[in-house]
Symmetry: C2
Subunit: 319 residues, 2 copies
């Protein structure tokens, strides 16, 4: 394959890579998603990260066959816009012409946009933990909870918005989600929702090391690494919130499996990748009592591509 760029645009970080084939990038750069300046600042940061990754590979953006971008929100490939990427920036409520903004910042490079979790799932099926699987759900457990659905070896997109496993209802009348609805998987398992919950519990007098660790590390939000550290310290609040997250994820994924009876489930995303196999095993075990066909559960495995899966999948958008 030609040398391509790949961008994974997340709520916490922007991962840029330059890759030729396989899963080893020729160059990579990872920077925090800017919290100020809205979509234009995000476009600027993406271009910076891609230029740095290209530089590491000894190239210029204009040397690339193209750059794929995996983004949250609704993607319109005709118009080249991304709409409502609120996990990335609270100011990203409308449509932003990300394709043209990136093209002009990257010396006219060809830009392809895709849904972040769908490209991440595609990467796992083509290059990672889902190889040779005809049907699979890729679950991305991070700032939010999204999924990609592969059926008969192909991504299933529905009318353009399939895969919202994070907004399946697992507790009618339950906790309010960051989306404003109630009882969604993401209301319990999304890192953003978990942080809001933790802050509320602290306001109500509960104790936790989560925010101490955050300050020690000079961060402004609870990253996956901070959650992992607090769990290592057996922090009660972190343990409680992660227990609830695992229970909600397991119920949501099992529900999706009861509906679709897929062969495999791949768990990735920032938190999924950071917490790793012990938590994949917990999700697998907690799915079991909800599975209608509990005699032959799907294979449940961790992402093989980890943090780079989204960017590798985005690079696959460049044909």
């Amino acid at each position: 394959m030609a040398v391509r760029g790949g961008i994974d645009l997340g709520g916490t970080k922007i991962q840029a890579i330059v890759v030729e084939e396989g899963t080893q990038p020729l160059g990579a750069n990872r920077i925090p998603t800017p919290k100020q300046g809205g979509p234009p600042a995000v476009a600027e940061a993406i271009a910076d990260a891609l230029r740095a990754a290209a530089l590491e590979a000894g190239m210029q953006p204009s040397d690339l066959a193209g750059v794929g971008v995996g983004s949250p929100g609704s993607i319109d490939n005709e118009a080249g816009t991304v709409t409502r990427a609120l996990n990335v920036s609270p100011e990203w409520s409308g449509s932003f012409p990300l394709r043209d903004e990136l093209r002009s910042r990257l010396d006219g490079a060809a830009i392809r946009l895709g849904n972040d979790v769908r490209v991440g799932t595609l990467a796992e099926v083509r290059l990672g933990a889902g190889r040779d699987r005809g049907s699979l759900i890729g679950v991305f457990w991070g700032t939010g909870v999204g999924s990609g659905v592969i059926l008969d070896g192909k991504p299933w997109g529905g009318r353009g918005a399939a895969g919202e496993i994070g907004h399946m209802v697992v507790r009618l009348g339950g906790r309010t989600c960051t989306c404003g609805r109630q009882g969604c998987v993401e209301a319990y398992a999304g890192r953003k929702a978990m942080e809001l919950r933790a802050r509320k519990m602290v306001d109500h007098g509960s104790h936790t090391k989560l925010f101490e660790i955050m300050e020690e590390r000079g961060r402004e939000q609870l990253t996956s690494g901070i959650w992992a550290r607090a769990l290592e310290h057996e922090d009660k609040m972190a343990t409680h919130l992660i227990d609830q997250a695992v229970a909600a994820l397991a119920a949501g994924i099992a529900s999706a499996v009861n509906l679709l009876d897929v062969e495999a489930v791949v768990i990735g995303g920032g938190l999924g990748t950071r917490l790793g196999e012990p938590y994949v095993e917990r999700i697998r075990n907690e799915m079991q009592p909800h599975l209608f066909r509990d005699d032959r559960p799907p294979e449940v495995v961790g992402s093989a591509l980890g943090d780079l899966g989204g960017a590798l999948g985005a690079a696959l958008l460049v044909g």
Copy 2:
């Protein structure tokens, strides 16, 4: 098409038809599912019903191109068996050779077995409310709650057990389902689960007209007609239980739509068909707050084939 038989085997009744094409049977017969005698008694009743339907069409079973049977439980078409059709008979926990048992009772007619909800959905897509829809979920609200999933115009079966929308979790740690799991859609919306709940509420001193109406009608269980009658009487318990059923169904269906983003949802089954459009409208309205893309909900419509959908779909199994 040739003249074919179709059987819809349900927990409450057996519907047999003989049909040539379209949706108008040449003959039809409907009998209660025998509560005694286990699978052999059910096979005998199916054969009786089919013979009666053929007689009405002026034919013998041996005149038919074949007979399709839509059945609950796990279908093995190679072996010709139906396994764990516990909604049909509490004695049907193992495998029963339904194909051969019917063939010998029906003068050697060719028998084809299919999953009840999957053939019901196929009928709605080919002949009913889902015509011209590329993607659709057919929801069958009756003794249990099942569904058929149509994607790209074709049934999606997964590894053979797709469509268990009734066992999607809508309340973590919630009511115990007839399947033994907790918080499933069917725990709130399945007619069998609702009857168990009503009997328990009566045991605890609550009042209802449900069982009076049942006795007046000389029935031994709460049929869809009895629920409908109690709702007309504004019976408090019936209203409460149906409210919970609608809420659970709406959350489960909306979750499935969030995952698959299908074009349409068809509501059928014994209760769905009996309660009709006012309740389809309630389900549609109560789905709305759970839909991630609430700006363009799927079309939600009642079954066009009603009680005959299952049998018409079963007849479609005979090619």
